[in-house]
Symmetry: C3
Subunit: 346 residues, 3 copies
């Protein structure tokens, strides 16, 4: 399934000037600090030039006028970031099917609009009034609800459910088993029973979002649940009704976000963290793994623990718990000394 | 997708006496303390009359003989709870499909019994011996196993799996991706390997239960796993084999309940809480988010933390950890003072 | 759904010498300490003979030359472990369908190889180049990706997704909703956006693995994600890209394992535990429920808490937090006494 290219082949495709071995084989991409042999990386600007001599990458895309050690293969490019994005695409595996077009075994409802070059595989169901953008690919057992809009160049893997009225942008990837637009969890107690609050809102997923496998993004009670442009969500994440997630945030596996909470842009929520409802996580904030967040987090803050507090406080408090047994002994010792002093005084 | 009605239209449907503006537009329902403009709420009895003047609801259903402030639109009704349930139904969205009846693209096994006015959509599979009650609706890619019984007025959303022998009551809602009746997790160590214990029991889901998306309710090893009448379960919840959940309990997202644990009625398990096996959670108890419950919880108790303890103890213990650094300094200071005293004594 | 046999019938099938009541009814199996009336258990060797008099099992398979109390029904067998495995199979429920063979409503791609006596149910999709071993059974809505290899005697329950290039051994059971081979979660920050790292590796699941419902096992970024022979994984577990799990390990519900972490053999990860990436968990180690593991765990160690530490330390630290309020009082008391002493000295 993997692709191999020489550095020269890559240079021919993305442009730039090659320094070093043109026959150097490249099989994948990685960040400059994580790259191994066979991988190509990039340096966006001179600020990080110090990382260059230590990299184990087989080649690095660099900006002009950077001093490149002789032993490092490099591609000098006016825009290393853009060149790297193109290179990344070279190593992306093709979709796992050769079947193009629209399967006769798909069920497509009335007044469904299909874009150009869509891939609709066997046993896809698209309910009436839905629209599917150009080149979007739906794998088997994908369900698209009534009036749902899916943009261009999206991929929905097998067994994805997108309920009615959802709006999905362009270049969105949704992995298998994920459910978009299930009812939010809301009840009103009436005479000791739980009466369901109608969930009449929708889910809106903006461009360039990727959502992992078996995640759930619930529809809004009223209004919209929103996943902002460029945000990436890992497997088994729970996003409750009316949550708003800003742009370019990262939400790692098994995180749970309760209803109406707002996550800013460039936020990182690490694995298994849980957030209560109706709070705000500021832009650029970070929540560490398994944290339980019970109140607002200011922009740029890093919080951890349950209930979550600034990470340095949390770490000190946890470290301090190790010292309690010793502390207990010391206090007992002091008590005895004080008693001895009291007895010696007249 | 949303519905709008005037207060007069609502009054015409549910009855009662209208006080205030009959043209007042209503678009949804909410509890009295959470309601916003455009929403209708209710007051079940006079005990909560103090909440009435502060509500932001556009209208409130109230019992007779309650003093209603002049600026509040009200519907005076003999039974506000029942009237409110009816109003809630008015604002419930219709199922997202216009396709009624039984799709020719569904696979229905031998001796399957189908009730009146069922909706069996494309690509539903119902194995032999199963029965589906009146007006129950199965969305695409729903699998109903052999001899499974599903009651009346149920909705199973796309990609739901209900394994063989399951018993589901009336008015049950199961959201997409949820799996009912997968094998319980049980093995016996034999010569260093794990030999599977046959899971020959079933799952029984009583009337009026709702289960969120991508949850899992495992079948019993022997006997039954039971979800009691009126209980509501959120997304990604794990209920292990032989668990019994009582009536009208609330289990929030990502909770995990281990094998053979018994949950009482009117219990609330908050998000990401985990419960070990073979314990009992008493009626009306509450477990806070992310708690790890390792032993029985008495009726009405509130527990939190890992291992879970009464919430006030847990809160004090967590708060106390903040004071340890200060405590360490104080003990050091005392030690120096005691040493000084010791030296000053002859 | 349950089976009942007499002890004599069991003896006729697995061999051995019957002591006690040949008509004793047996309905299931259990371990010697958990067995109840109606269940049969086993004693692998004489070392555990002390457990025999206390068991509530209706019968026990024992090795020769063991003294069996007169009131216990026994089956004396040269190899109790092997006999017990055979007995367990007697009580295993048959697959929930009578439909054998290959459904006309399955979609089977080009050059797919199907073994003997496979069961391919309605609405299964097998993409081109895949192979399915002898007697393997695929339930409805199972998706098998391009070039995926599945061994013999496997069962994939409804709505399972196995993406392209996956390798699955023999006797593997995968429960409903589980997703094998979704893309690993990996991005490189480029100009403030997250650029997807191609995930070109595969997942390899060895013989005798069982995976619960709605779990996710991500494909490797490069190379393989591996689940070792005989390992059992519960519902809603997340295994990230490039994780390696050894043989005969047990991973309980809702555990999350981050990228590239290595789990040894005979490891137990209890429910809701979370492991960071790039660490090693030694053979035979145990991680307790809800633990957050941030560094390597040596072979045989038992760790708990967040961040995880040896379980005895963790327990002492948690217990110590209960004593902090008392400690605060004692230190205050000491301070007053010291002040009094200071004042009494000249």
């Amino acid at each position: 399934m993997s692709v191999q290219k020489t550095l020269q082949q890559i240079c021919d495709i993305v442009g730039g000037t090659l320094l070093g071995d043109p026959d150097c084989p490249i099989v994948s991409v990685a960040s400059i600090d994580e790259a191994e042999k066979g991988q190509i990386s990039f340096l966006a600007n001179r600020k990080y030039a110090r990382l260059l001599p230590q990299t184990r990458a087989s080649a690095v895309i660099v900006p002009p006028e950077l001093e490149v050690p002789a032993e490092i293969n490099a591609l000098v490019h006016e825009n290393p970031s853009m060149a790297f994005v193109k290179v990344t695409a070279l190593f992306s595996p093709p979709l796992s099917t050769a079947r193009n077009g629209i399967s006769e075994k798909a069920c497509i409802g009335e007044s469904v609009r299909l874009g150009k070059d869509v891939g609709i595989e066997d046993y896809v169901v698209i309910a009436e009034g839905a629209s599917i953008g150009d080149r979007t690919h739906l794998f088997p057992f994908v369900y698209v609800g009534k009036d749902t809009q899916i943009g261009s160049d999206c991929v929905l893997y097998p067994n994805v459910t997108v309920r009615e009225g959802t709006i999905i942008g362009d270049r969105v990837i949704i992995h298998s088993g994920t459910v978009i637009g299930a009812d939010g969890f809301g009840y009103i107690p009436v005479d000791g029973r739980h009466v369901k609050i109608p969930q009449t809102g929708i889910v809106c997923i903006e461009d360039d979002v990727e959502i992992g496998a078996n995640a759930t993004i619930d529809r809004a009670r009223f209004g919209r649940t929103v996943i902002g442009r460029g945000t990436k969500i890992d497997n088994l994440v729970m996003v409750a009704h009316n949550v708003k997630v800003g742009e370019n945030s990262i939400i790692i596996a098994q995180v749970g976000i309760s209803g109406s909470t707002e996550i800013g842009r460039d936020v990182i929520l690490a694995g298994q963290a849980g957030l209560v409802g109706h709070i705000k996580i500021g832009d650029g904030a970070r929540v560490t793994a398994q944290a339980g967040v019970t109140k607002n987090v200011p922009p740029g803050a890093i919080v951890g623990g349950t209930p979550a507090r600034p990470l340095d406080q949390e770490r000190k408090a946890v470290a301090a718990t190790y010292r309690i047994p010793q502390l207990l002994r010391e206090v007992e010792e002091l008590r005895q000394k004080v008693r001895a002093l009291e007895e010696r005084l007249p």
